[in-house]
């Protein structure tokens, strides 16, 4: 089981986010778009690489990427679902 804080730590590290603490990224905060954290399409690709490298999870359902990557909680849920199977 991957903890949401571990995921956030890897996001901060892997996406070179600066001056941001784990608890500043709210669980349901949108990761993409200007309303949330502000990640872009290149970050989406980097995220798939982070998932593979840090958690051994391959994102196969790219059509559903927008939902999987919507927030930290949706992302950690996806990771844990994949790890269970």
């Amino acid at each position: 089981m991957v903890k949401i804080d571990t995921l956030k730590e890897k996001l901060i590290e892997g996406l070179s986010l600066e001056d941001i603490e784990i608890d500043e990224i709210e669980d349901d905060m949108p990761l993409f778009g200007d309303e949330g954290l502000g990640l872009d399409s290149v970050d989406a690709i980097e995220l798939t690489l982070i998932l593979e490298k840090e958690f051994g999870v391959k994102v196969t359902d790219m059509a559903n990427a927008e939902n999987i990557f919507a927030s930290s909680s949706s992302l950690v849920n996806y990771i844990n679902e994949q790890l269970e199977n």
Binding site: S16, D19, L37, G38, E46, L49, K53
Partner: protein, 213 residues
């Protein structure tokens, strides 16, 4: 054909390994953009700010380009690891000039040159040409070479981060100085000409040079 160029502002930054006071947190407030900036990008934003230049034609030069990202990509390929898309998009020679334009909302013409040892002189030549159609131009040359293994290549002991910039305008005034490309210790060869011009700017109030197009 010659153009007389007056130097409005000049700026220089350098460090043996890594520049500390580039002030990027102040100059680029949006973290999500700032975190992507390459070393050369931060240096260019700093130089342009010092010269009070935001939008308008920019001519940028670098003999070696984005070496840190280039090496990162080569290492990934060599070690059969996945190449980072961020590193790739940041590896083009015009990266620094492009990020400056994104930060400042600069939609004007931006040119990037890479001409080996004569880079800084060629950048000024291009700047002079741009002045024929534009009031003011910003010219700069930057080398950001602090990557792992650089010692193999740095035989002449150049400082690893070096950047010089000038805001310039066309003038009818007579040239009052001549600049040469004499190499100075610690200065990357590609920046020699601009370093000599910078030294003159530090010692004179008004600097007007004649630039051959």
């Amino acid at each position: 054909m010659r153009v007389n160029v007056e130097i409005i502002n000049h700026a220089l930054v350098h460090a043996p390994k890594t520049l500390e006071n580039l002030n990027e947190k102040e100059l680029v407030k949006k973290m999500i953009l700032r975190r992507r900036l390459s070393r050369a990008s931060k240096i260019l934003i700093n130089l342009a700010h010092k010269c009070e230049y935001k939008t308008g034609v920019m001519v940028y030069g670098s003999a070696y380009g984005e070496l840190i990202d280039t090496v990162s990509i080569l290492e990934s390929i060599k070690n059969e690891n996945i190449v980072s898309p961020t590193a790739f998009q940041n590896s083009v020679y015009n990266t620094a000039a492009s990020y400056h334009s994104i930060v400042e909302g600069n939609t004007s013409e931006i040119l990037t040159l890479s001409c080996g040892d004569s880079t800084s002189y060629n950048v000024m030549q291009q700047g002079a040409l741009s002045l024929l159609k534009n009031e003011e131009v910003f010219v700069s040359t930057i080398e950001a070479m602090n990557f792992e293994g650089v010692e193999i290549f740095n035989k002449c002991g150049a400082q690893l981060e070096y950047g010089i910039g000038f805001s310039i305008k066309k003038t009818d005034k007579e040239a009052n100085t001549v600049v040469n490309a004499k190499e100075q210790k610690g200065v990357p060869a590609s920046l020699s000409w601009m370093k000599n011009l910078y030294d003159i700017c530090e010692s004179k109030d008004s600097v007007v040079i004649e630039v051959e197009l």
